[in-house]
Amino acid sequence: MNVYIYDDFLNKSKYNRTINRLEIKLTDLGLNGKIIRLGAIKNIHDAIESEIKNGAKTIVAVGNNETVFKTAAAVIEHQALSFVPQKTLFFIIPIGKNDNSIADALGIKREVEACNTLLARRIKKIDIGVAGHNYFIEKAEMPSENAILEIDGYHLEVKEKGVISIINLAKKSNIIGEKIPKPNDGKLDIHIKTRDKEESFISVKSFKIISKGQALFLDDSVEIKTPIEFGVIPGGLEIVVGKERSFE
């Protein structure tokens, strides 16, 4: 059974037509399932946990990056913390032109076109980034000034103003040498770009960031404070992907 998690913003009337077309397409393809609207539930983790226990095979986030951030965490936690975890697939139906970089990197096309990708069921395991008690799929970002990164046996000090990005998944690279991060290599890519266009790049399994008073954003959705420890859950999420994804 598929369970579709609709984000709050889809309640707006401007999305009615898109949602109607989407539901018709899903029914035509025989992919229809239960719909849960985020606005109507208080605890998304409990709701998803309960659906998985009741036999949900695929959890589908319908919305944008923020919807993915909220729903994927519940699926990951179920896989990571359950005594006998049930195999649950994850999928994204991206709605709207913006804020869908996670779906883009996974090769999933927008709205109705995503239904064909779900039908094709091309499944890949991707790593999940861990920041303290939070999970992220795409990236974490923070200002670089006065940040210290403690890595195995050494530490990096960044004095200049700029941005530190901790990347797990990306559609294309802004990184020097056009390196495209691999979300299935068991590592996180740290990219530091300072104001004077100096770039640094390092790939690691775990590290700690210390920075006075600087906040860190996970998947452009949640703000957390440093110091914080980062790690990876290798192959932490089984996800249905499109042909035009950014990785093998």
Binding site: G153, Y154, H155, E157, E160, G177, E198, F201, S203
Partner: protein, 141 residues
């Protein structure tokens, strides 16, 4: 080999790039190619190639397969194969290598040591014909 001609390509192959605004302290050990443009204190080791930029300052013992050094290094340098010192390189420490090229303007304040293993293997190569000759003499007898 990590040669001078493909300097512009170095970033594509590099597993780690330390930019000019970064200071590294500690034992920095990697498996892939490393590019250092900033400062490093401690030790620097890789099984692959190393590129040290013009503005880089390294206070560390260095070990690598091949290396191109254009910056300042205070410490012992052990390169398994090929070392290239650019015109802006300043080395304060002993250097061990198999092959070396030094551009005009580079400063070296230390000993240059050709790798011992290489000499040993050369000796073996030289000794081979003598053994063969002995065998031939024995056969004649």
């Amino acid at each position: 080999m990590f040669n001078k001609e493909n300097r512009t390509e170095k970033f594509k192959d590099a597993e780690t790039i330390i930019g000019g605004s970064i200071k590294v302290k500690g034992n920095f050990h990697g498996q892939g190619n490393i590019v250092i443009e900033g400062c490093l204190e401690g030790s620097l080791k890789t099984n692959a190639n190393l590129f040290i930029g013009e503005k880089a300052k390294i206070v560390a013992n260095i070990e690598a397969q091949d290396a191109i050094i254009n910056g300042e290094v205070y410490g012992q340098i052990k390169i398994k194969k090929y070392l290239s010192l650019g015109a802006s390189a300043k080395i304060f420490g002993d250097i061990q290598y198999e092959e070396i090229s030094v551009e005009k303007g580079a400063i070296i304040n230390g000993q240059l040591i050709v790798k011992q293993e290489n000499e040993a293997s050369k000796r073996k190569e030289h000794s081979k014909p003598e053994e063969e000759q002995e065998e031939l003499i024995e056969e004649k007898e």
